[in-house]
Amino acid sequence: MTKPPLLQGRAILALAHRELKGYFESPTAYIALIVFYLMSGYLFSATLFLVNQASIRALTETAPVLLSFLIPALTMGLLSEEIKSGTFETLATLPLEDWDIVLGKYLGLAGVHLIAAGGLVFYPLLMRALVTPSLGLDWGETAGILAGIVLLGLMYGAIGLFASSLTKSQVIAFVLAFLLCFAFFLAGNMARFAPGPVASLLEFVGIDAHLDTLGKGVLDTRDILYFASMIFAFLYLAVQRLQSRRF
């Protein structure tokens, strides 16, 4: 098991497909999607009617909190349920590496998140149909905000998957994931209260700064790298956890 993992694409896709299907065979995905669209729809229309702005900008501020409990609700059972019911042993004794299992599960969740975030495109499209073209819609900003929400959800998903690998209890997995996600959100918010060097560290670790740049329509590799390395780090931790086989 010390060799580098050779990923098995077909098996990963089979797992992801099963996971995605599973979400939509149970109420989980629907409830999460309803909450997500209710909140985002409210924020969108509030900006539209109260502030008179055609923008989904308000989402950038709320998404870190909203997703910090929606995503853990989707991830909490991913591994904990397999460990609890013993089906993890079935999976782990198939010709699969632990990386295959983690990636398959993760892609399934990512699918749900992409469906949710993809639906947000509907808002700016609706705007375009309603507002006079001269008023204009900042497409760069909109794309940046959407990309930010996608990346944020993917990062939370990796955190949630890791939390789910830690325990047999879905409730504990949920709470752990929420706390971790929220901590990364808070770190960015606390930055402005902290003294100099700590502040810049918090700002780097926290989500806010990265999401803000993206939200302005600025594509900075540092931000992409931040999300990518977070995702990799937590997936790596989840694999390490599974490989310990101590449940």
Binding site: R10, A11, E89, T93
Partner: protein, 332 residues
């Protein structure tokens, strides 16, 4: 083919599997027998590369499990303890899912395999039902079907009949007998009759070590230090007892009343090598006492099991009616 060489696994201070060594040739059915906590499940987890061993190595079909875990798993079918299943999947969906993860990527051939295992395992009547709604017997069959979907060379079954009612046990046993024709099969159980019914060979484990290894008959024979003969003779009880005691080689004789006896029953003990049956016949013939029953009492596997795993002498299991063991009767 399965081979263990000094296989050792520790969990903290506990040595769950202690320098295990055995070899199972192709086509043999071996039963792992032992009390709970003897290391049966851990050994199976080492063989399936679910857990890495601390020392020693496991070899499956000439492949070192530690070096080729995926290749070993490809050639091996495994039914884990308690038969975990995805409860929200429909029966054939569950089989398709495992099939896909096993690399049966094309739908056509995979559907063929699913149909084949549904037939082999008698699942046709529950197709369309969710796994979570199945009775325990059908769950077990589904677990077996999942384990053989890729037609493996080696099958490892952890307690395939636990928790089943007697009819289901027989059904699953028949299924295993069906499967064993072409495969190397290792199954664990703590039900002794299971081993007698399905296995060519028994490995008894206790506290992580092999305490016995052989055919069920061999194991029972090796441990036997006395020969016991049960006879029922029709005649005056007061005469029979002293006559039997006078037989040369009879170390002890005691009356053995038993329900449903046609006549007076007695148990004669002699040294292991001494067979009293002909002497009893000659005696009965000369006295014209019809022999209503005569059977050589053997130690049952149950006695062997108890003796080996508790350290208690065979007598500790208490007096047992002769011939009550699963394979205890030798027709006289």
């Amino acid at each position: 083919m399965i081979r263990a060489e000094g296989l050792t696994k520790r969990f903290g201070a506990i040595t769950a599997v202690d320098r295990l060594a055995f070899e199972i040739p192709v086509g043999q059915v071996v039963g792992f027998l032992g009390p709970n906590g003897a290391g049966k499940t851990t050994t199976m987890r080492l063989l399936t590369a679910f857990l890495p061993p601390d020392e020693g190595k496991a070899v499956v079909m000439d492949l070192d499990v530690a070096d080729h875990p995926l290749e070993v798993r490809r050639r091996l079918g495994y039914l884990p303890e308690n038969n975990p299943l995805y409860d929200n999947l429909e029966v054939t969906d569950a089989l398709h899912f495992v099939g896909r993860l096993r690399g049966l990527a094309d739908r056509g051939p995979r559907t063929e395999r699913v149909k084949a295992v549904v037939r082999t395992c008698g699942l046709a009547s529950v197709v369309g039902r969710k796994t979570g709604e199945l009775s325990k017997g059908f769950r077990q069959r589904l677990g077996l079907a999942q384990a053989i979907i890729h037609d493996p060379d080696v099958l490892v079954l952890d307690e395939p009949t636990s928790g089943l009612d007697p009819n289901q046990v027989v059904e699953v046993r028949d299924l295993i007998r069906e499967l064993k024709k072409e495969k190397t099969l290792l199954l664990s159980t703590h039900i002794l009759s299971e081993v007698v019914a399905t296995c060519d060979r028994v490995i008894i484990l206790n506290a992580g070590r092999i305490v016995a290894d052989g055919t069920p008959d061999e194991l029972a024979g090796n441990l036997q230090d006395k020969n016991r003969l049960y006879v029922e003779l029709k005649g005056p009880a007061a005469d029979i007892l002293p006559s039997l005691e006078r037989l040369p080689g009879a170390a002890a004789v005691r009356p053995c009343p038993k329900a449903g006896q046609a006549a007076e029953g007695f148990v004669l003990e002699s040294e292991a090598a001494k067979d009293l049956r002909e002497d009893v016949f000659a005696l009965a013939a000369s006295k014209r006492w019809p022999i209503m029953a005569m059977s050589q009492e053997k130690l049952s596997l149950e006695d062997v099991f108890r003796a080996l795993t508790t350290g208690a002498p065979e007598e500790a299991s208490g007096p047992r009616p002769p011939g009550a063991g699963p394979q205890g009767e030798t027709p006289a």
